[in-house]
């Protein structure tokens, strides 16, 4: 291959510059490693920036009775016991320190009357636990981490997409990527790689996720030989916007309900009474999403097919202060004043509980030298994530991944790059320019989104899932024939033709796993298997690559030690 590429070398390469990626970078740097961060968008604009609710940490600033054990218990119950218990324990124990650390680095959270970090209530949390900044906590977190990272000296490769992890005899040696601006190639040599690329929402039509979320990291890990886990658990957030069409899916933060928002159907009934009378609107997201879905299905939905979320009973100044971006979002994009009337909301594909299978202490995947943290990793949240637990996840496991990646790099030998892998990666990436087909990557993407939205949504059946697998095969063939015109200079159609491949890999993994799990648990609901099955409570679905094909296996859930079992048994 005569195409030239530039080469960079780092001890630790981090793919993804959201909360988890940046936190990992800071930790690896603190350990003395040379760190490179690659990201698809501009620095500071990763999907973390959208997070609105808050960081869950048992600091007990508002509810003095809160402690890590209660947080652990809430997380495990939210995940319907399928979580990696050790991750849940570490997360609950370490989150408070991670939040305090952020403030040491310049973050400024809302305050209690005595000058400490304010915490608010959220779905599934027994105590008021979410440290927040109005409704823009994600922005605060990423800005703090990015400013510190830049000052401390991480090298950031912005608008650069990794398309392949390079390996050598069962360990990682680097990554192959292209610059979105010029289309030129770059090869990274690295002793450790941390994948922090977030989720997969762009494979569904209605999603709260931003453009980046095409499952790249999970696909990269899978193709390199690492195991994926819990891929069937896709969280549909109950409250996304439903109207007008252009904003369908955009998030309406759970904080609206945390601050007292109420859900009503077309008839004005507060319907959560029927589905979870104890926790009502602050039930877990899977329950609320299914409730809204059922209300609409049974004919009690609003004009545009959703439910009403109303916070107009609170003083207008309070709403504008605590939920400013919601106020503006609805005013500017939907002509609705939330201080005066209700919002129309409905379920939207929001978060991926599944992902790359990792070790709890080190965040290392099943491929030596490959680590994963944040949404791209699996295990912490089990079958359903609680609101607020993602931002804390990023900090706790971002740090652990960075620490372990730096440690691994200290003992690893200098990687040697396999040119054959680079040649193949180049060929695959450039193929759409020479395909003389009539498939547009945009059309294939639209069709993929329809398949996943209609057949692998909130409520699943065997028939739909089997049909989805067949459709995905057809889409794979079409995607391989996708052709693009123009040059390699910032060509979004060409970029999409790679992203499509990643989306197809993760879509297949989700569908295969959903087909196998013949029960309903957490976010995974089977109409044909509506109850929990004690046999499936003890198993995770694992996705592997064997003989060039995707295969599914099962793996037993780790046994919880007695002291944690006792914590779980308490009220």
């Amino acid at each position: 291959m005569t195409t030239s590429y530039e080469t960079r070398e780092h001890d630790v390469l981090i793919i993804g510059a959201g909360g988890a990626g940046l936190r990992a970078a800071l930790e690896a740097l603190a350990q003395g490693a040379s760190v490179g961060v690659v990201c698809k968008s501009l620095l500071g604009k990763a999907h973390t920036v959208m997070a609105e609710g808050g960081i869950a940490a048992a600091m007990a600033n508002v509810d003095a009775a809160d402690n890590w054990k209660a947080h652990f218990r809430d997380t495990m119950r939210g995940g319907k016991l399928l979580n990696n218990w050790r991750m849940a324990q570490l997360h609950a124990q370490e989150a408070p320190d991670r939040v305090r650390e952020l403030e040491q680095w310049g973050a400024l959270f809302d305050r209690t009357d005595d000058g400490n970090i304010l915490q608010r209530a959220f779905g599934g949390h027994t105590f008021k636990r979410l440290c927040h900044v109005g409704d823009r906590t994600g922005l605060e977190m990423i800005r703090t981490l990015q400013d510190r990272g830049v000052q401390q000296g991480i090298d950031v490769y912005m608008e650069c997409t990794v398309t392949r992890i390079l390996t050598d005899g069962g360990r990682v040696t680097g990554a192959f990527a292209y610059w979105r601006e010029t289309g030129r190639f770059i090869v990274f040599k690295a002793k450790s790689i941390v994948i922090a690329t977030g989720g997969i929402g762009k494979a569904w039509r209605i999603t709260s996720n931003s453009w980046e979320y095409t499952g790249d990291g999970m696909a990269l890990a899978h193709e390199a030989g690492a195991e994926l886990m819990d891929m069937e658990f896709v969280q549909f957030h109950p409250t996304g916007m439903v109207w007008p069409p252009g904003v369908q899916g955009i998030l309406v933060t759970e904080a609206v309900r945390g601050e007292g928002g109420i859900l009503r159907n077309k008839a004005g009934e507060r319907f959560m009474e029927k589905y979870d009378s104890k926790r009502m609107e602050l039930s877990t997201r899977d329950v609320v999403a299914r409730s809204i879905y059922m209300e609409v299905k049974e004919g009690r939905g609003t004009e545009h097919g959703g439910a009403y979320l109303d916070i107009s009973h609170k003083p207008a100044e309070y709403v504008k202060k605590k939920l400013p971006s919601m106020y503006h979002q609805f005013k500017e994009l939907a002509d609705v004043d939330i201080t005066k009337g209700p919002m129309e909301v409905g379920p939207t594909c929001h978060y991926m509980m599944g992902g790359i299978r990792v070790d709890a202490e080190t965040a290392q995947s099943t491929l030596p030298g490959l680590f994963a943290a944040g949404e791209a990793a699996a295990g912490l949240h089990g079958s359903n994530r609680l609101g607020g637990n993602s931002l804390s996840d990023l900090l706790v496991f971002g740090r652990r991944a960075g620490l372990a990646a730096a440690e691994h790099a200290k003992h690893a030998s200098t990687p040697s790059i396999d040119n054959a892998q680079i040649d193949q990666a180049e060929k695959e990436l450039l193929a759409p320019f020479s395909n003389r087909g009539t498939e547009s990557p945009y059309a294939v993407h639209r069709d993929l989104q329809e398949v996943m939205q209609n057949l692998v949504g909130i409520f699943r059946t065997q028939e739909d899932l089997k049909k989805a697998l067949a459709e995905l095969e057809k889409l794979k063939t079409r995607a391989a024939k996708a052709s693009v015109e123009g040059s390699r200079l910032f060509n979004p159609g060409w970029h999409l033709s790679y992203d499509l491949k990643a989306m197809l890999v993760v879509s297949e993994a989700v569908t295969l796993s959903a087909l196998a799990r013949t029960e309903s648990r957490g976010a995974h609901s089977r109409i044909d298997y509506p109850n929990v099955d004690p046999v499936w409570e003890k198993k995770n679905n694992i996705i592997v690559r064997e003989d060039g094909e995707m295969k599914r296996r099962e793996s037993p859930v780790g046994e919880m030690p007695t002291d944690l079992k006792q914590i779980l048994a308490q009220d």
């Binding site: 968008s41 501009l42 620095l43 604009k45 999907h47 920036v49 959208m50 403030e103 680095w105 310049g106 400024l108 809302d110 305050r111 005595d114 000058g115 400490n116 304010l118 900044v133 109005g134 823009r136 922005l139 800005r143 400013d147 510190r148 830049v150 000052q151 912005m158 601006e181 931003s210 453009w211 980046e212 109207w243 007008p244 069409p245 252009g246 904003v247 955009i250 998030l251 971006s325 503006h328 979002q329 500017e332 994009l333 939907a334 002509d335 547009s440 990557p441 945009y442 059309a443 639209r446 693009v484 015109e485 123009g486 040059s487 200079l489 910032f490 060509n491 979004p492 159609g493 060409w494």
Partner: protein, 247 residues
């Protein structure tokens, strides 16, 4: 369905022209939706930067009918539909392709600004009142529209001497942090060119987060610089005490 014409800039760093595209107009549609339609059906290699489509990431900055805007928050029905809607890239930054510009200068400026450093041994208690002031500045989504519109950068290209409104907002957020112990007044005066701002206030007009950039960030910072470097009494005291400035 109603249709509108979008006149979009197509071209690279040195050359280009606008091209007209007909797009169907759906209720509540924003300009970014129209650009996506063009990508999906008419011009698959139209280069557009975007990410969240909800006005939170600051990626989709452009100039629509002559005004710096986020395309995801610009409603088609707010614009006159009987003429072409003109969509151009941000003028103050070098063009890469179509609507994508090179905003890397902003990231270089950021590195000049010393980060937050808490005062030694300070008690970690902060009141909401103190936090409110700084939180206004930290709302900034780095869309760079303020940088784009400021004439000091846009017309006079003073990128070497002038940091621009975005970074005055950043420094204000650090200087007014109740626990911060650094003094950035000298930096503002010498490296960041605060004096070049002549209070035109175009930045405040275009900020999508409605940050009152000039009134709440720039003017207070100017007052601090003046207090420290241009107040005759302060200068006298310094001479008597033998103190250094700006430390």
């Amino acid at each position: 369905m109603a249709e509108a014409t979008l006149r979009v800039f197509r071209g690279e760093s040195n050359s280009g022209r606008t091209v007209d595209y007909r797009v169907p107009v759906a209720p509540g549609m924003v300009v970014l939706d129209a650009l996506h339609y063009i990508q999906g059906h008419l011009a698959p290699d139209l280069a557009v930067r975007w990410n969240c489509k909800a006005g939170k990431c600051g990626s989709c900055s452009a100039e629509v009918n002559g005004r710096p805007r986020l395309t995801c928050k610009t409603r088609m029905d707010d614009l006159p539909q009987d003429q072409p809607i003109i969509v151009l890239p941000m003028k103050s930054f070098p063009r890469i392709k179509d609507l994508v510009t090179d905003v890397s200068w902003n990231y270089r400026v950021n590195r000049k600004i010393p980060p937050f450093e808490p005062r030694k041994g300070v008690e970690w208690k902060i009141s909401q009142l103190d936090v409110d002031r700084v939180q206004e500045f930290r709302k900034c989504i780095e869309c760079f529209l303020c940088q784009d519109v400021c004439h000091v950068l846009r017309e006079h290209d003073k990128k070497e001497q002038f940091a621009g409104p975005r970074f005055f907002v950043r420094v204000a957020g650090l200087e007014m942090h109740p626990l911060d112990g650094r003094n950035r007044a000298g930096l503002l005066k010498d490296q960041l060119g605060l004096g070049l701002c002549n209070i035109t206030k175009c930045c405040t007009e275009v900020c999508p987060e409605e940050i009152r950039i000039t009134d709440n960030a720039i003017i207070p910072l100017k007052e601090r610089v003046v207090d420290e470097f241009y107040d005759p009494l302060t200068m006298l005291f310094r001479i008597f005490r033998g103190q250094k400035q700006g430390v």
